[in-house]
């Protein structure tokens, strides 16, 4: 082989397994493990409720469906603002990126706030984690989801701060895409949770 060929060989890039950039791939892989974590918690609820022969409260008897339905809509809104933020920076619009990111953080925080309010109402009416299987499963499922949302809000705030300092450009905004994936996942889990816990 000539030295020219050898130089060309040296310039070859790594084998790319899936054609997906590394940070994004890492986040997707993390999300697959999160699916299994929520399967553990939500799956246990399904098994305990539909397997064990206890009678559980009918939908709407204990939990406030209306408030939570609104909260579901709110979380979906935050997913929209998140994806609008991503679309903005894809088009190089750093200003709209900041606005949409801030909106996402605020709406996400509202979701958590409303959840906490709902918890305080339930506790006030005597519905606790120790209230049998219903209490155990309700608080662990929504609690872990809420914990994930809170972590998500904190990460979005961090990304927002970086955006305000001009840290993202049209060429380089992987962080926005990656946190977006996490945020949509959290929304997706809630879509399933809301249906199973509040409506069925």
């Amino acid at each position: 082989m000539t030295s020219h060929a050898a130089t060309m060989e040296r310039g070859r890039s790594p084998e790319r397994g899936l054609g997906v950039p590394t940070n994004k791939l890492g986040m997707w892989i993390f999300l697959t493990s999160e699916v299994m974590f929520f399967t553990g918690i939500i799956g246990s609820y399904i098994i305990l409720r539909f397997g064990a022969s206890d009678s559980w409260a009918a939908p709407g008897e204990v939990l406030n469906v209306t408030v939570t339905a609104v909260n579901t809509f709110i979380l979906i809104c935050s997913s929209v603002t998140m994806v609008k933020a991503f679309a903005a920076i894809e088009n190089g619009d750093e200003k709209m990126l900041r606005i949409w990111l801030l909106a996402t953080a605020i709406i996400g925080a509202s979701f958590v706030g409303i959840q906490l309010f709902e918890y305080s109402e339930l506790i006030h009416h005597g519905f606790l984690p120790s209230s049998g299987l219903y209490g155990s499963t309700f608080y662990s499922m929504t609690g872990f989801h809420g914990f994930h949302v809170t972590v998500g809000v904190l990460c979005i705030l961090w990304v927002t701060l970086k955006a305000f300092r001009g840290g993202y450009t049209q060429e380089n905004h992987q962080g926005v895409e990656v946190i977006g994936l996490y945020w949509h996942f959290v929304d997706l889990v809630w879509i399933i949770l809301f249906t199973i816990v509040y409506l069925i």
Partner: protein, 584 residues
């Protein structure tokens, strides 16, 4: 397809341009090799701890009710007058299993060698996420400390077995252990997080950072096995984390997931735990198989027999491993129809495992075998894993297992696969990669002595347990001599215990030799074993960043003794035209 651009990995190969301060270089390092070595020292310590716990419980079994030498050093709550209390005995059993599975074997296989080998074997500078990698080690370290601390709290360490079955594990009033149980759960939850960060790194790195020419079917089997293991971890460990947190809630905030009085289902704990637990045991064996493949090919001077089938066997074992978990529960009162389906899937999983055993044998057949310590341990692995696998066939069959479940037959099986299997492979890996890691050689003769002693005493300890189990000796019991049907076997128990002490002593010999070699071993060359894989093409030990220039790969991983070549090995990045014009 997307345009492929070379991505900066963020790791520059600088030798002394910006020397890092001691803390960044050795304590909070993001270099995968340093992290691997941190794991190695920590895990060797936990291996010693786990072994010591076994020595103590074996003393009680060999000499029931007698004061243990050194036992008067233990507090009154554990061993008054040096005699181990039943409550302490059961925590010894629990913690021996816990430390060995979570803090010794698993991290020795994965934390050490996935970290050390993957970037080197695939030809890249470091892991995809070096800082996450650092967190993975330190979370592991913290979880180990938390687990150790459970011995020191009031009530002592957990007593519910490493499997932590509810309701015993959920009811402190029943077990007598309060904080110890909670610390177990917290430690394992932190451990799960550490493992998750590691797995994300390993999977992403193998997918995205392979050197040019390093296609999937040119990966060494060590990397393949670590990759598949990481995927198993990603899918199985979160379920354990969820279950452990639910159990912690049962213990602390009044939930009732597993407490039957208030509607909970103890059987659910068993299902959740074993849904994790079975893939976990494949996590404990698959990397061992990968290392053994690399070592046996090298030590036989032949390519691995059936490389592709080895890869597919790894994949099938991992996949099937998700549908066999019920075989740990045949005695639980589970649905018998379910039991039958688990029996069938468990028998099926023996097939890919057997394929691997035959392929190792096929590799060695008519090879030019070098009896180095690593080769001895690797061949020992094949023998002992085969025996462990054979006892597994008995247990796979539900009617047989109903008789031998929770007896010493199971203890024999699990130690043949976890010690004779995984730990032998770990020893092989340590001997094999020590020169690369530390730039020094371990003395061959001492290694062979270590192997001989370990092999002999291992079999003396664990083979008789097959008979003990068939004879009806139950697991986790405190004093076999008080049972009429077991009193006659007390001599066997004593022999097993004496052999166990000798086995531990052999392990201590290894430790001395390991540390001696670190400081006084002969300087190691770049490639002492004439091996083909990429990690042997860099200095011993490698520089920070591994490669000044990313290599290009031209061959598969086991080009030993090719008929066209005069040299009996060809490294993966050697250009074919440079070596022999006849090769393509």
């Amino acid at each position: 397809m997307a345009t492929i651009t070379a991505e900066p990995t963020g790791v520059a190969v600088v030798e002394e341009e910006h020397p890092l301060p001691f803390i960044r270089k050795y304590i909070f390092s993001t270099d995968h090799k340093t992290i691997a070595i941190q794991f190695l020292f920590t895990c060797l310590f936990f291996l010693l701890v786990g072994g010591l716990l076994a020595v103590m419980l074996r003393y009680q079994l060999g000499y029931p009710g007698k004061p243990m030498p050194g036992g008067d050093l233990l507090p009154e709550t554990m061993a008054p007058g040096g005699i181990i209390l039943p409550e302490f005995y059961i925590s010894l059993v629990t913690m021996h299993g816990t430390f060995m599975v979570f803090f010794a074997i698993m991290p020795l296989l994965v934390g050490v060698y996935a970290n050390y080998l993957i970037p080197l074997q695939i030809g890249t500078h470091d892991m995809a996420f070096p800082r996450l990698n650092m967190w993975s080690y330190w979370l592991f370290f913290v979880s180990g400390l938390v687990m150790l601390s459970s011995f020191a709290v009031e009530g002592g360490a957990s007593v519910a077995g490493w499997t932590q079955y509810a309701p015993l594990s959920a009811m402190p009033e029943a077990s007598g252990v309060y904080a110890g149980q909670q610390l177990w759960m917290i430690s394992i939850a932190i451990f799960g997080f550490s493992s998750l960060l590691g797995s994300i790194n390993y999977v992403t790195t193998v997918i995205n950072l392979r050197a040019p020419g390093m296609t999937w079917f040119r990966l060494p089997l060590a990397t393949w096995s670590l990759f598949i293991t990481a995927i198993l971890g990603l899918l199985a460990i979160p379920v354990l984390t969820a279950a452990v947190i639910m159990l912690l809630f049962d213990q602390t905030i009044g939930t009732t997931f597993f407490l039957p009085e208030t509607g909970g289902q103890p059987l659910l704990w068993q299902h959740l735990f074993w849904f994790f637990g079975h893939p976990e045991v494949y996590i404990l064996i698959l990397p061992a198989m990968g290392f053994v493949s690399d070592i046996i090919a090298n030590g036989s001077r032949k390519p691995i027999f059936g490389y592709h089938s080895m890869v597919f066997a790894l994949i099938s074992i991992a996949f099937l491993g998700f549908i066999v978990w019920g075989h740990h529960m045949f005695q639980s009162g589970m649905n018998p129809a379910l039991a039958m389906s688990f029996m069938i899937s468990t028998l099926v999983i023996a097939v890919p495992s057997a394929i691997k055993v035959f392929n190792w044998m096929g590799t060695m057949w008519r090879g030019s075998i070098q009896f180095t310590p690593h080769m001895l341990f690797a061949v020992g692995f094949v023998m002992l894993f085969a025996i462990g696998g054979l006892s597994g066939i008995f247990m796979a069959s539900t009617p047989v297992d109903i008789y031998i479940h929770d007896t010493y037959f199971i203890v024999a099986h699990l130690h043949y696969v976890l010690f004779g299997g995984s730990l032998f492979a770990i020893f092989a890996a340590i001997y094999y990669w020590f020169p690369k890691m530390f730039g020094r050689m371990i003395n061959d003769t001492m290694g062979r002595i270590h192997f001989a002693l370990t092999f002999i005493f291992f079999n003396l300890v664990f083979f008789p347990m097959h008979g003990l189990g068939m004879g009806g000796m139950m697991r986790r019991i405190y004093d076999p001599s008080q049972y009429e049907h077991l009193a006659g076997m007390q001599d066997t128990n004593t022999l097993v215990s004496l052999s166990a002490f000798a086995l531990y002593a052999s392990g201590l010999l290894f430790f001395v030799m390991f540390f001696w070699s670190l400081f006084r071993g002969k300087k190691a060359p770049v490639n002492p074993w004439n091996a083909t894989t990429l990690e042997w093409q860099v200095p011993s030990p490698p520089l920070h960043g591994n490669w000044t220039e990313i290599p290009v790969v031209y061959h598969g991983p086991y080009e030993y003794s090719h008929p066209d070549m005069d040299k009996d090995w060809l490294s993966q990045n050697e250009r074919p035209d440079v070596v022999s014009p006849a090769r393509h």
